[in-house]
């Protein structure tokens, strides 16, 4: 029980962000209106995804250093969980875009970039299933993962900032800080982000533990 304090913290943080996110003050903005509150729910999905992909790449590097099977399993489960958050992020983004930008898929560089990044990580899972031999699979997918991570960052966080994008902080658009002049939203946003990252990591560890049990059973058989 002592070890699970961070799980409770994650739940409490997200719960707090739900309450304050709906009832707290937000700036009144053109077109966005109340949908600005989506910042508390849509954006943390991507933060959680990013944190999980980061964990995955760290464990891939650890696997290449030590060749421990468990590191490889952690890397897979982090990607598995990260993809779920990514899909939720894409869906919520589409709903929000339809109302504010007038299209489910407004050909925004950030949207397209995240779609390509998703396909890249799906390819990682397909690649793993294609390889039969365990050690070879672990090694090749670890190398792939290490290459995929920086490309994901470039596609989702660097390229959109260099061109015109509908997302904040790109091209001629103001950043999130410009929209939220009074810093009313920042504390809630950070609480939600950290909370969702903690919950994401929690789900990832659950999947990892199940994977370990499966692995052990296969070994005994």
């Amino acid at each position: 029980m002592k070890k699970s304090w961070w799980k409770i913290l994650g739940l409490v943080m997200v719960a707090a962000s739900i309450v304050v996110g709906f009832l707290g003050p937000v700036p009144a903005l053109f077109l966005l209106h109340e949908t600005i509150r989506n910042v508390y729910f849509h954006v943390p999905m991507w933060s959680a995804m990013f944190a999980l992909y980061l964990i995955s790449v760290i464990y891939s590097i650890r696997y290449l250093n030590g060749s421990r099977v468990n590191d490889d399993l952690m890397a897979v489960e982090a990607v598995n969980t990260g993809i779920v958050f990514c899909i939720i992020g894409l869906l919520t983004g589409m709903q929000w875009a339809n109302i504010t930008w007038g299209d489910f898929w407004p050909n925004d560089p950030k949207t397209n970039g995240s779609a390509i990044a998703t396909l890249m990580y799906l390819a990682y899972l397909v690649l793993r299933n294609a390889l039969e031999e365990e050690q070879k699979r672990a090694k090749i997918s670890a190398v792939y993962n290490i290459f995929a991570f920086p490309i994901m960052i470039v596609l989702m966080y660097i390229m959109p900032k260099m061109t015109d994008s509908l997302h904040p902080g790109s091209g001629g658009n103001g950043t999130f800080g410009d929209l939220d002049m009074d810093n009313q939203m920042r504390p809630v946003f950070y609480t939600a982000t950290i909370g969702w990252i903690l919950i994401g990591v929690w789900i990832c560890t659950l999947r990892y533990r199940v994977r370990l049990l499966e692995n052990k059973r296969n070994f005994v058989d």
């Binding site: 029980m1 699970s4 409770i8 739940l11 739900i18 309450v19 009832l23 533990r209």
Partner: protein
């Protein structure tokens, strides 16, 4: 586990009373466009999901032993 459950129950109750205290008693959930109802619904969904995750956690812990 018991501790967490009681904690979560208190969390729900405290949020409920929080929503009520802002406006007059007993009319809280019917006031100002009824947004509090939506907040309560979302919070309920989320808390139940949290409890579900904890139960899953405990089941895996049992399997590990």
């Amino acid at each position: 586990m018991k501790k967490i459950t009681t904690f979560l129950v208190f969390l729900i109750i405290s949020n409920y009373t929080f929503a009520q205290n802002q406006i007059e008693m007993a009319t809280g959930l019917r006031s100002s466009g009824k947004i509090y109802v939506v907040v309560l619904v979302l919070l309920t969904i989320f808390v139940v999901l949290g409890i579900f995750l904890f139960m899953l956690d405990r089941r895996i812990k049992k399997l590990e032993k």
